[in-house]
């Protein structure tokens, strides 16, 4: 099923992945997507496209009905990212149920749910495939994705043509965590090489993910299936952040021992407390002084920033040590998935970061 001349609904279209789906649908196939928008404050990127924006959210059946009108394909990318945990859970679970049930009643022929490899929990095994059991953990995001996937399974049994996609970490233009967050992190010296810690990073470039999302609607064998989507081959976290460090034109980080790292972290914590206390009293003067220092001693202020912000935090060490590799064999076999190299993705990402003045 080609997407040309199809009507497509995207939830979460004001977000990073949903936004790129809408962009690609327009650029590749001149498809004007239906976009359900809960918060217009985030819609500037989407606003550049001739899409149909429908105000509402997944907890309002009336707005879903309006958004689904005449749609053949649904890309369900929305998830709750508010400060209210209860609301987030409602959006993820009740919202998925509402959307799926209404899609079942309407003419939807393909329903693609964007899940995450977070469903495998905080300590996944070294090799993960679609058959690896999902695992509840202390990560509410992953738990919520497991529950939403179960809702999708139920909808599949009722006849909704569901496909579940579990991407690994997604980078590229507009990626809030793995591109914008990553460059901001390295710019303040927030990445460091810790001795004997060299975990695997499974990163996928946004357009490879979007290619897979388009493929599943074309390939009948994909229906009812779950796919892991990652990059061509895994790299290390040091490679991942190292690429951003290179883009920013910064010197490669020195290797620190675990012990030194802990001392540095504690010193950073003390500094942070000091800054927070003095900010309350001396905010304008402190900002002036800091800006002056930044101009005169950029290297020093960068190191100070890194210290204050803590570099790699102790609760991140587990994540950055893991050797997990997510297999994309199933996607290769069934979808003909063929992602680009990490370097190719980073080249485009670098151009984007320059254009938007991050570097």
């Amino acid at each position: 099923m080609a997407l040309k001349e199809k009507k497509v609904l995207i939830t979460g279209s004001s977000g990073f992945i949903g936004g790129r789906i809408a962009e690609r649908l327009w650029i590749d196939d001149r498809v004007k997507s239906h976009c359900l928008i809960r918060n217009f404050s985030n819609a500037a990127r989407l606003g550049r496209l001739p899409v149909k924006m429908i105000s509402g959210d997944l907890l309002e059946r009336e707005s879903i009905e309006k958004a689904l009108e005449g749609c053949d394909v649904v890309y369900h990318c929305a998830y709750g990212n508010t400060n209210d945990a209860q609301l987030n859970r409602s959006i993820n679970e009740e919202g998925t149920k509402n959307l799926g049930e209404m899609a079942l009643k309407s003419s939807v022929k393909k329903f693609v749910y964007l899940s995450s490899v977070a469903v495998y929990g905080s300590n996944p095994p070294e090799m993960v495939t679609e058959d690896t059991p999902v695992q509840f953990s202390n990560d509410e995001y992953g738990n919520s994705k497991i529950r939403a996937e179960k809702i999708c399974d139920g909808l599949l049994k009722k006849g909704l043509p569901v496909v579940i996609i579990r991407p690994t970490i997604v980078f590229g233009p507009f990626s809030p965590i793995w591109t914008i967050g990553a460059i901001k992190r390295v710019l303040v010296g927030g990445w460091e090489k810790i001795q004997n810690i060299n975990g695997m990073c499974n990163a996928v470039y946004i357009d490879d993910l979007v290619d897979s999302l388009f493929s599943v609607t074309r390939i009948d064998k994909a229906f009812g299936e779950t796919f892991i989507i990652s990059g061509r081959s895994p790299i290390t976290w040091n490679d991942f952040y190292g690429a951003y460090i290179e883009l920013a034109g910064l010197p490669a980080p020195r290797i620190v021992s675990k012990r030194k790292k802990m001392v540095k972290s504690n010193f950073g914590n003390l500094l942070r407390i000091g800054v927070n206390i003095s900010r309350k009293t001396f905010e304008p003067e402190l900002v002036d002084f800091y800006l002056l220092m930044q101009k005169k001693y950029p290297q020093f202020t960068r190191s100070l920033d890194g210290l204050i912000r803590g570099g790699i935090k102790s609760n991140e060490i587990n994540k950055f040590s893991q050797k997990t590799v997510y297999s994309i064999d199933k996607a290769k076999k069934i979808l003909g998935y063929s992602p680009r190299s990490f370097e190719e993705g980073m080249k485009v990402t670098g151009d984007w970061l320059k254009h938007h003045a991050y570097i």
Binding site: F40, L46, H355
Partner: protein, 327 residues
Amino acid sequence: MRIGLIGAGAIAKTAYLPALTRLSHIHLNAIVDSNSQILNDLSSEYRLGYLGDAVTQSLEHVDAVIVAVPNHLHFPISKTCLEAGKHVLCEKPITISSEECDELIYLADKYSLKLAVAHTRRFYKAAKRIKQIITSEELGEVKTFDFEEGTVFDWPTASGFFFDKQKAGGGVLMDIGVHVLDLLLWWLPYEVVHLDCQDDSLGGVEAFTRIKMEMSNGIKGNVTLSRLSVLRNGYRLQFEKGNIEWNPLFPKRIYVHNISKISKKVIKIRKELPVDDLLSDFIDAIENDRRPLASADDGLRVMQLIERCYHSREPLPLEWLKTKENS
């Protein structure tokens, strides 16, 4: 002076209502909005002659109005108010076309009313100080300019009209661009003889715009605007004998570099209340029958320049938009 506020959305809540609370000489006597929830919330806070959703009815209770509604309604509502004999302070952009603006100016002249536009940036003390530096030629003549302004859009818009081309009239250029171009034309009141405009619109409203300009006296410069990312956020003016840099997001500092004196200094502004000053200027212009600091003519000049930009716009070459299929 009794004033009415037409439109009680985000700009009213964040700018006009707080300013009106501070300004005791202006009597807010009417608020109009189509959202009953907003009206309900306001009813306990304000004692007004009129609180409701009918513009025409509200006008009986006021001498002047602030029009703070979505862009496409600036024209019809301002027109109604002028025809009813009320002075108008209209949010920016004054209208979404120069024809509409021409008509409003005609009506204001016909009925001898004041028609001002909320080009709030002019009311920053720092902006006035920069104008003074330019006109006094203390740093010599201006040679070039480079204005960059961009933050990630997070305006609490409830209706989303900003992203509807018909209602907003355009994207970042019709939004923050109005302020930037107004300051440019106020500081450097010359004809723009040449311009190139590139933006990232793909059929919707642009979120990133880059304009290159040349003015009749040879001044050249660039304006870059973004709704998608944090830019340098600085207005740079290069003079014969130095330069100035001002960040509109931290407006209390002007950085002045005088080459001939080999000196760098920071002009510090103690207090900025531009919306209060805008409202006071509007009322003073009515009471003393003078031209407001930001008048409809200024709105028209900006609108004409924006129209030229849209007319000549080219797509920005953005490599990351391309895919394997269309590269």
